[in-house]
C-alpha cells in the first residue's frame, strides 16, 4: 500500500494543516480546502486509514467510523454543501459498526465480516487511484509530445471541403440551442444577427486602421436601418469590452480603438 501523503498536504495561508481529525480546532477555510482535496468518501476513508498507518484489510472500524462521522458533523455544523455520497458512507459505516457490536453466533469467517464489502471497495478504488497517477505520468500530446505538421501549399488551391447544406447547419444550431435551454426571450432573429455581423465588420475596420474615426464606421448609403445597426454594433462592442471609445474633449472627434 503506497499512498503518497504529500498528495494530501493541505495549506491554509501558507501554513500546512496536519492531523486534521485529532485537532478539533480547524479554521473553517481549512475544512473547505479539505473537502475539495478529496475525491469522495472512499478517498477520505483511505486517508483516515493511512493516517493510522494500518493495513486496509485490518481496518479498525470503530475509530475510523468515529473519525469519519466527527468529520462529517463538523462540516455540517459549518454548513458546507456536503455531497450526499459522504452521508451515505457515514450510514454504511454506522451500520457496519452496529453489526460488529452484535455478538456473532455464526461461524466467524471472512464471509461474515461486515467489513468485507467495504474493504473490497476500498481496495478496488485504491487500485484505480494508483493507476490514474500512473496514467498521468505517461507522455502525452501537447504536454510531452507535439505533433509536427506542415502546410501543403497546392498550386491550385481548390480545397475539396465536405459539403454541408444549410439545413444541416440549421439543424446543428437548433440542437445546440435546445441543449443550452435558451428560451424564447433570447431568441435570435435576423435583426440581432445583422448586429453581430456588423460587429465583425466594425472590428475588421478597426483592426485595419488601428484607430478609427467613429463616423467612418457608418455608410450613409445604407439608409437609416444601416446606421442604426452600425450604432448598435458599436455599443455592443463597447459593452462586451472589445473596443474602447476615445474622445479627447467633449464634442471633439470620437475614435474607436481595439482593447490592447
Amino acid at each position: 500500500m503506497n499512498i503518497n501523503l504529500s498528495e494530501y498536504t493541505i495549506k491554509v495561508n501558507g501554513v500546512e494543516v496536519i492531523d486534521i481529525p485529532e485537532d478539533l480546532f480547524i479554521p473553517p477555510d481549512a475544512l473547505q480546502v479539505i473537502l475539495e482535496q478529496f475525491e469522495g468518501p472512499l478517498d477520505l476513508l483511505l486517508y483516515l486509514i493511512k493516517k493510522q498507518n494500518i493495513d486496509i484489510t485490518d481496518i479498525q472500524i470503530l475509530p475510523i467510523t468515529n473519525q469519519y462521522i466527527e468529520y462529517i458533523n463538523m462540516m455540517r455544523k459549518m454548513q458546507f454543501e456536503l455531497a450526499s455520497d459522504y452521508l451515505v458512507m457515514a450510514a454504511t459505516l454506522a451500520e457496519i459498526k452496529s453489526r460488529m457490536l452484535i455478538p456473532n453466533d455464526i461461524d466467524d469467517d471472512d464471509e461474515n465480516d461486515p467489513r468485507a464489502d467495504l474493504i473490497k471497495r476500498l481496495m478496488e478504488y485504491q487500485k484505480y487511484k494508483d493507476l490514474s497517477v500512473e496514467l498521468d505520468l505517461i507522455p502525452r500530446l501537447n504536454r510531452d509530445n507535439f505533433i509536427a505538421t506542415g502546410i501543403f501549399n497546392q498550386i491550385e488551391k481548390k480545397q475539396e471541403l465536405p459539403k454541408i447544406n444549410i439545413d444541416e447547419l440549421e439543424q446543428a444550431f437548433l440542437e445546440v440551442m435546445k441543449r443550452a435551454e435558451i428560451n424564447a426571450s433570447h431568441n435570435i432573429n435576423t435583426e440581432v444577427l445583422s448586429v453581430r455581423e456588423r460587429m465583425t465588420k466594425v472590428l475588421e475596420l478597426i483592426n485595419n486602421n488601428k484607430v478609427t474615426v467613429f463616423t467612418d464606421c457608418f455608410n450613409v448609403s445604407e439608409g437609416k436601418m444601416g446606421v442604426v445597426v452600425t450604432f448598435l454594433a458599436i455599443l455592443e462592442l463597447v459593452k462586451e469590452n472589445i473596443i474602447d471609445l476615445i474622445q479627447n474633449d467633449s464634442l471633439s472627434v470620437i475614435y474607436l480603438k481595439a482593447k490592447e
Binding site: T149, I151, L161, N165, E175, A180, N183, L203
Partner: protein
C-alpha cells in the same frame, strides 16, 4: 549537441509544431535567457533549409513569418490524402461553426458555455485553416481570449451573400 545546432533544432521543432507562421520575433521569444540575435535566427533558418535538400519540405517565408511547407511536386499524392481526410464533418464541428456564425464575434469560452463542453482546439484550427473563421480581436477579460468570426469564404461555401441569409431561427422551435 553544440549550441549552434541546438538553436536550429529548436527552431525546426517550433515551426513544425506551430499552427501558424512564426515571425523572427516569436522565434527569438522561444528562448528564455541567452536570447539569440535576430540575425542568428535568420542564419539558422538558412542552414536548416540547406539541410532539407533531400527532404520533401522546406521553410518558407510568408507575410506573417516562417512556416514549414511541402515542396512543389507532391500534389499528385497529397490531393488524394486531403480527399481521404475531409470526407465528413463531425457534429462537434458543425455545432461549433453555427455558434460562431450566429453569435460572432465569440470567444472559445462563449462556445463552451453554449455547448456545455470544452472546445476541441483541433476543430478551431481546422476552421482557421479552411479560412472559414478568423481571429478578429481580443476580448478585454482575463486571458485576453481571441474573438472568432466567420469570413467571406464561409459565406461563399454556403452560397450566401451575407449572414442575414442564414436560416432564421424560428421562435416556435426554441
Amino acid at each position: 549537441m553544440s549550441k549552434r545546432q541546438n538553436i536550429e533544432l529548436i527552431i525546426e521543432s517550433a515551426l513544425l509544431v506551430s499552427q501558424s507562421p512564426l515571425s523572427v520575433r516569436e522565434l527569438v521569444d522561444l528562448f528564455d535567457s541567452n536570447k539569440p540575435a535576430k540575425n542568428t535566427i535568420k542564419k539558422a533558418i538558412e542552414t536548416l533549409n540547406k539541410s532539407y535538400v533531400n527532404r520533401s519540405f522546406e521553410i518558407v517565408e510568408v507575410a506573417s513569418g516562417f512556416r514549414i511547407q511541402v515542396k512543389n511536386g507532391y500534389d499528385e499524392w497529397l490531393v488524394k490524402l486531403e480527399k481521404q481526410i475531409s470526407s465528413r464533418f463531425s457534429k462537434a464541428f458543425l455545432e461549433t461553426l453555427v455558434i460562431i456564425a450566429y453569435r460572432q464575434p465569440v470567444t472559445r469560452g462563449d462556445i463552451e458555455n453554449i455547448r456545455g463542453v470544452s472546445v476541441n482546439p483541433q476543430i478551431i484550427r481546422n476552421m482557421i485553416e479552411f479560412e472559414w473563421i478568423r481571429v478578429v480581436g481580443h476580448k478585454d477579460t482575463p486571458g485576453k481570449p481571441e474573438l472568432l468570426a466567420t469570413t467571406k469564404k464561409f459565406l461563399d461555401h454556403f452560397n450566401l451573400r451575407s449572414l442575414n441569409e442564414l436560416p432564421e431561427i424560428k421562435e416556435s422551435i426554441v
